[in-house]
Amino acid sequence: MKKMLQVTLGILTAIGGFVDIGDLVANALTGARFGMSLAWVVLVGVFGIILFAEMSGRVGAITGRPVFDLVRERLGVRAGLANLFASFFINFLTVIAEIGGVALALELATSVNYLLWVPIVAVLLWVTIWKIKFESMERLYGLMGLCLLVFAVALWKLGPDWGSLWGDASNPTVPRGEGHPTWIYYAIALFGAAMTPYEVFFFSSGAVEERWTKKDLMLNRANVYIGFPLGAFLSLAIMACSASVLRPRGISVDTLSQVALPVSVALGKLGLAVVLIGFFAATFGAAIETLMSSGYTVAQYFGWQWGKYVAPKQAARFHVVMLVTLLLATMVTLTTIDPVKVTEYSIVLSAAALPLTYLPILVVANDREFMGDKKNSRVTNFFASIYLVIIMVVAVITIPLMLATKAGA
């Protein structure tokens, strides 16, 4: 019974934790602009993250060591350093975006300018990371993130033309008046949002934090195979809400307040209250995850003691990295840089850097020395190889597309 509860909680956490500011903005933005014609990208993205998150969770459970630690050992110092730079930079942008996202969610609820919330959010984040246990932290914000399921309820209440939504999704074509490059650019943004690298670093380090062993592989699979697809369902609901309410009115999504409009239209004040809690939980939870991922990557690369399973005094450098990252990200957010724009750039740039994260994971998950009989199966490798090709193509075309389309303008 206890095991069952743990699995259920893990799944619920994975659903709630799947969506962050990047997913919120990318799904609402593409739904408003392209309808459901990019829904297939969410499915491609979620299948990819399932594949690699399962691998990294398995690596953590079998070896008792996180992926980043093994990457340096397996691929050497230089390859590990390239991986560290790329991951840390993308992570840093995401921390800025998430802190801004939390502050914007609070602004929507209070009407107090988000910049005044930024320092308070930073303090709250630090206190949470310092004081709350890893498992409680993950569960609390993951479960609160389930409030975002209100998008699915709103969609049902809106009663859209389901046939038209399905037609758009199942027969994807570039909408009239839009160019192919722009459409592909936003497809990459969605793909990047679904496959954000911090998710796998956090997942594999989390497996070690929670002291997973071979016995927990079932929990790993349940989280990934059930939680992530349901998280993707949430993403599609956000997209469909935008496609149903904002697109017919010609509204393009530039702010977080616009993302919530369809819920308010469908469910009124109650729905709005729930969605604002969901925004807060999703962005706050993701801010914790990205901050911790920053600490994980640096500490694991340099071989320092890391994690919340030891007292902060024993992992001082790990905590210092997180604190410095938090301070810098807070300072950047306070420059009045638009958090939604930072989000858009962070997910696209993360798409460009994907090979640096996912290729090493694949290499490590195939190493018999580390993984024994739990190394990747042929089926997993077949799909992972296909994904590596996709990831490589995405990485090569992202920056030229960004220039050609003026970042999707």
Binding site: I251, Q258, A260, K269, L272, A273
Partner: protein
């Protein structure tokens, strides 16, 4: 030896990226280009105006909190300000384009003004004024519609 030129390359690529990506509104060399920019501005302005209409509708039907409606209306007004400022910064390439600028700018100003009125009414919770602003925005949206995608 790689040499400093190659090492400088990533910096130049980064700089070029920043310049191209941030340069959203450039100069117009032809009337056709100016019209295209006007059309893009009309599309962006219609988005802000329609956002304002939706917010007004939510307030009138008591389906949104005051704080949320205030933020959403303020952001719609800020977006409209941005669109107008960006369009005004484009140099008209000919005297014919001056006429387009004059007429279109008046419409953009009307839109920004109506969104400002909406923001004030939402903050004061004056439902009569919210209704009036919504009516104005509806008319402006209808005027912007034919200019989108021209």
């Amino acid at each position: 030896m790689i040499g400093p030129r190659v090492r400088r390359l990533p910096c130049l690529v980064l700089l070029a990226t920043a310049v191209l990506v941030t340069g959203c509104v450039g100069p117009s060399r032809t009337d056709a280009d100016y019209h295209r920019k006007a059309s893009n501005s009309a599309e962006a302005m219609r988005s802000a105006v329609e956002t304002g209409r939706l917010v007004a509708d939510l307030v009138l039907r008591d389906r949104a909190f005051g704080n949320y409606a205030n933020v959403a209306a303020t952001e719609a007004e800020q977006a409209a300000d941005g669109v107008q400022a960006a369009f005004d910064s484009v140099q008209p390439p000919s005297t014919a384009a001056d006429d387009v600028r004059e007429k279109f700018d008046a419409l953009l100003q009307a839109a920004t003004g109506a969104l400002g009125d909406l923001r004030i009414a939402v903050r004061r919770h004056l439902l009569g004024d919210v209704r009036k602003a919504a009516d104005d925005l509806k008319k402006i949206s209808a005027q912007l519609e034919p200019l989108v995608g021209v």
